[in-house]
């Protein structure tokens, strides 16, 4: 199975449905901080140009806020593509983005448990 097939299998997304309107990126709250934007994830998976995505910090910028999923006029669900690429990265041995030892210096007394639980789910396997 090549990378493209793997991403399609994990995400369940048919990237060919995309009509390149860019609404996903237009509505993305993380747009300014991303090297590759949601519409680029969809296009680069379609063309099989996946390695740059796997190596990009943009993977950890998706907030799972479902804005792109809700607002895509073609039902492409770009967040699921980003999730699949991210999993393809962190499922590799030693590739966790967040390690438990890093946490103490990142938190303060008010941090809700929800924040840590969510971050670990998104960043580590």
């Amino acid at each position: 199975m090549d990378k493209k097939e793997e991403i399609e299998l994990i995400s369940g997304v048919n990237v060919l449905k995309c009509m390149r309107c860019g609404k996903c990126s237009g509505t993305c709250p993380s747009y300014d901080e991303m090297e590759y934007h949601p519409h680029q994830f969809v296009y680069m998976v379609e063309t099989g140009n996946i390695d740059p995505l796997i190596n990009s910090e943009s993977l950890y910028r998706c907030l799972s806020c479902f804005a792109c999923v809700e607002r895509c006029p073609r039902g492409v669900e770009p967040a699921k593509v980003i999730e699949a690429v991210r999993l393809s990265a962190i499922r590799q041995k030693g590739a966790n983005h967040l390690k438990a030892e890093q946490v103490p210096e990142l938190i303060d007394d008010d941090v809700p448990q929800q924040l840590l639980v969510s971050a670990f789910r998104k960043y580590s396997k």
Partner: protein, 265 residues
């Protein structure tokens, strides 16, 4: 009316107020929340991957507990609600996920998404009714201009969550009216607060926070309400000093429960 109730990790810790005022208000409004025994953390974020089962199992165990009691499952935290409701949808509609989750869990009978998942707000609107809530209000929050902050997880994806119109919601505004206050509708009410990014990139979240709070302030609010502990954390230390409350705290206040509990305290 007795509901199974899933508090989730944060409501037992940093968001204890969200839970406490919800239970007090429920008792005053005539419904009971039975906390699921040995509930397990939902994981905070819905696992979108089609090939992942392990991350969905805790939600299925919670859902099955409610089913075994013949009760609907009530949630309060926006994240728990989102995760559990979306996993429930998978169990109902995705045969592959349903089969593999049941193979793993080996429950007495397979779980097929039978449980109805309701957010606390939906119980207020659809079961109790906002008119009935209004009748129970003894301390109307008159003159208060309240901005409801929905964030992302309460409403989206609308096709699964089905709580309200995901782009033009009204459930919290209707609650605000029932409490005797004036709702403030503003453009950023259903845009994400930055979520778990506040672990790694506080400046980016600060930018989100100020955009959202300024939007609410520009439309004239005195305070903001939310159902989500992470939204609370991300929004409350805003530069404008706009107070952020859990909606249950203001509900308890309107129902006269807050003053009563402070007197006895």
């Amino acid at each position: 009316m007795i509901y199974s109730y899933y508090p989730g990790c944060t409501l037992k810790n940093k968001a204890a107020d969200l839970d406490m005022y919800a239970r007090q208000s429920a008792a005053a409004l005539g419904f009971e929340l039975r906390e699921i025994e040995e509930w397990q953390c939902c994981g905070g974020v819905y696992p979108m991957a089609k090939d992942e089962i392990a991350t969905k199992l805790s939600s299925v165990r919670n859902l099955n507990d409610a089913k075994m009691h013949g009760q609907s499952l009530v949630t309060l935290c926006s994240a728990c609600h989102n995760v559990i409701k979306q996993v429930n949808n998978d169990m109902r509609t995705n045969e592959d996920i349903r089969t593999r989750a049941n193979n793993y869990l080996k429950l007495d009978e397979p779980y097929n998404g039978e449980t109805e998942v309701l957010h606390y707000l939906e119980v207020l609107r659809d079961v109790i009714g906002f008119d009935a809530v209004k009748e129970k209000v003894t301390n109307p929050l008159k003159g208060k201009k309240i901005a409801a902050y929905y964030g992302c997880l309460l409403l989206r994806p609308g096709s699964v969550l089905k709580m309200d119109d995901p782009e033009n919601p009204s459930i919290m505004e209707d609650l605000i009216k029932a409490m005797g206050a004036t709702p403030v509708v503003y453009p950023m009410r259903n845009e994400c607060c930055g979520g778990y990014l506040s672990l790694e990139d506080k400046p980016a979240v600060a930018k989100r926070r100020e955009t959202i709070v300024n939007s609410a302030k520009d439309f004239g609010c005195d305070c903001i309400i939310t159902a989500c502990p992470l939204c609370m954390y991300n929004l409350k230390k805003n530069e404008s000093g706009v107070p952020v409350y859990y909606f249950t705290e203001l509900l308890a206040d309107a129902l006269g429960l807050k003053a009563a509990s402070e007197e006895t305290a």
